[in-house]
Amino acid sequence: MMAKQLVQKAFVTFGALALMSSMLIAMGPVTPAGAAFTYQAKHAGGTVHLLASTAGGTLDPQVNYTLQYWQLYQATYDGLVSFEKVSGQSSFNVVPDLAVAMPTVTNAGKTYTFKLRTGIKFSNGKAVTVKDVLASFQRIFKVSNPNAGTWYNDIVGGPACVTTPATCTLKGGVVVNTSTNSVVVNLIKSDSEFLDQLAVPFGSILPASTPGKDQGDVPIPGTGAYTFSKYNVNTGLTMKRNPYFKVWSAAAQPKGYPDTIEETFGETVESEVTSVENNQANWIFDPLPTDRLQQISTKYASQLHVNPLTADWYVPMNVNLAPFNNVKARQALNYAINKNDVVNLYGGTKLGQPTCTILPPGFPGYKSFCAYNSTSSSTYKGPDLAKAKALVKASGTAGDKVGIVVTNDPVNLAVGQYIQSVLNSIGYKATVKPLSANIQFTYIQNTKNKVQISVSQWYQDYPAASDFLNVLLSCSNFHPASDNSINISGYCNKTISAKMQAAEALELTNPAQANTMWGAIDQQIMTTDAPWVPLFNPKLTDFVSKGTGNYQFSKQFYMYVDQLWVK
């Protein structure tokens, strides 16, 4: 998931951890990482006030692809399965949600049989039935979900639905039985990540009566502990308790604490920070301004939470345009950029970790290596400008003009200016082209715009190596002349794409060997073709107000807004 706003990162020292822990303990009992949340009624009630500089777009959970709202959807919508609502590594686990249990998988991994829970109601009072499940699967295609053609087209009938969404039936793909309350999903081919893909908000079960088009700012009833009661893209949104909600699985959908959750839009980030400092708001969504980090991390250390993310900041180079259609030019930039410098622009070594790999550390398949380094080492040591200049000279591209397209927020712009300085120093004539964050991400994907190089970020959708390697660098995700071509480099190595498919297939039977394959693919891409310059893995900072308790963090969807205490 591309979530550009999520620009901050941090690292916590042992001392700081101890300090934070002691402060949190003082504010109330904390559920141990990995354990289901234990509800404490004495903390129920009140209003959690969140701040974000802008709205996150449509409120439709089957369309919206932003972290800002995916974070809120955890408390408002459910799928047949969902990611476990716990803190720590277990938050990557997929658990049954509206389904009674995890599905029975048969037919060589191609058939998933779910049994729907009974007695659950949407926030409009209507009972959830298997017809709603079928309609929700169909609606994924009818609303042209961003991943309909890459994730969900594995369902039988999916390809036809991608071609003609309006008449999508998924006949033979999703079969429901009203008498047994069962849902059978048939896939064209086995897919080890299918349950992950159902557990994200795109897989939310919505009322069958929901229109088959993007609902924009109209809230859709859900089954979660809360329901959206108001949404105005200019001013804010409000979530109230779902009057029909009863806990059926605390691991899937726990009861929340506040009676109301409000998110207000429109303030500057500086103003948001001041509001939280003054206890006028509980949390801000936006990355903390780098200028305020020192003050916050010193004066408000106990209110600051720092979590590593499975995410990349990277520089995609267009392998089909000069000068980066020359592998030596791409390798040169990999040698030239000092990733420690980039980390400093982001806020320092405690907020980001330089990286040489596409897969983030701790991710399935991750293997530490560094192909472009000042010294031979598996971890990043520094740049080698001499090698970079020699490669530029050997490539015959010296003197070429290079345009760097970045978003116009301070950190991205600073990184762009740094890369411009580096490119100029190794022989190119570079310019920076800042664009609004609203358009930069799609602009750099479209080959019509002839973008040579850009700065981008990728945050995991779910914990699988393919979510980075296959999504971002396979031939199937390069769509020339389209705004929806997430393979920004335009990189297509058929041999490597075939290996990716083999690794995906192997995940079903031998995950360990599959992960070894993914690690090797990562290494091969960077060593032989170098379509990216991986920059660093960011960490996330959450700044909460003094009166806010029970901070809980999911590695999948980040802070649980509904678990915050304001009483």
């Binding site: 916590v12 500086e270 301004p289 780098t290 600051l304 622009l345 320092g348 070594t349 740094y418 300085s421």
Partner: protein, 309 residues
């Protein structure tokens, strides 16, 4: 005279920017210096300094050292010497302000003279062009032109100006201010045209070109001279505004506007990055304004109107 002296000091200091950067500060103000160090007394100090307190988050550029030889006003977020960039930025801002004022005054004078002297269809056409340009708020027009031209450059017939070239902001700023100079000149010419000495020249059979060059232009010139320093100040302010919005001078080049923009995200910890160019703009614009007033007083001591920026 004091304003002129102040202006001379500012211009001279800015012209000496390369001398300061290369021979005194020994810094390249256009390249990032994120891992650089400097000597302060007996200590070696990082240009970007990691926070060591609390959770230790954040990296802050070094603040003003107040040592003329090194990072006098501190560093910006790219680790560049702010004082060196301030001097280079002044060169750019003044250059753009001066050149665009020249272009603006020349074009406005030609159009104003033609419009006021020939009247009729010529006056109607030129006046309507002035009206159209004047109909737009000046900054809105400048921003619109900048956004379009700075992404694609200017490509009309044989004219090809690349995006990012300094020529673009110069032309844009010159163009948007033409009516502001052209209209008063037109009015002045229309008034002069009715005077006896012009009627005498016409009666004597002098050519239009001769009358414009020998009779009218010398009488209009004092007004143009009064306008000129004011336009330099106006244009410099416009350039700073456009650069502050990232649609004027493009990085890594510096102007006072771009430096203020750079300093915007350092206001909390390093306010001098934004304040220093702001102060320079105030001083320079103020000096030019007073200079313009001085010129007017010299050419027309009885004038009642007093202009201001």
């Amino acid at each position: 005279m004091a304003a002129f002296g102040l202006l001379v000091v500012v211009v001279t200091a800015c012209l000496l920017a390369p001398v300061y950067a290369h021979h005194i500060a020994h810094e390249n103000p256009f390249t990032s210096n994120l891992n650089g160090t400097i000597r302060l007394g007996n200590k070696t100090v990082n240009v970007l300094q990691a926070n060591t307190q609390g959770l230790g988050l954040g990296v802050t550029p070094i603040g003003p050292t107040w040592h003329f030889s090194t990072y006098f006003l501190g560093a910006d977020s790219q680790g560049r010497d702010v004082f060196a960039r301030l001097l280079y930025g002044g060169r750019t801002s003044l250059f753009i302000g001066f050149i665009s004022a020249v272009i603006c005054c020349v074009i406005a004078s030609v159009l104003g003279l033609a419009s006021g002297y020939f009247g009729g269809a010529v006056d109607w056409l030129i006046s309507r062009i002035f009206d159209i340009v004047w109909a737009f708020p000046i900054y809105l027009l400048a921003i619109s032109l900048s956004v379009v031209l700075l992404t694609s450059g200017l490509n009309i017939a044989f004219i090809h100006i690349q995006a990012g070239s300094l020529v673009l902001p110069i032309l844009i700023i010159a163009a948007v201010f033409v009516p502001y100079v052209g209209r008063p000149i037109r009015g002045l010419v229309m008034s002069l045209k009715e005077r006896e000495f012009i009627q005498a020249a016409i009666g004597a059979g002098a050519s239009d070109f001769h009358i414009l060059r020998k009779e009218i232009l010398p009488n209009v010139m004092p007004s143009i001279i009064v306008f000129f320093p004011l336009m330099v100040a106006f244009n410099m302010l416009t350039e700073s505004a456009l650069s502050f919005l990232s649609i004027g001078v493009q990085p890594p080049a510096a102007s006072w506007g771009t430096i203020i923009n750079d300093g915007l995200d350092l206001l909390y910890t390093r306010p001098w990055v934004a304040m220093a160019p702001g102060i320079m703009i105030v001083i320079t614009a103020g000096a030019l304004n007073v200079l313009g007033d001085g010129f007017r007083d010299a050419f027309d001591p009885k004038a009642k109107l007093r202009g201001s920026i």
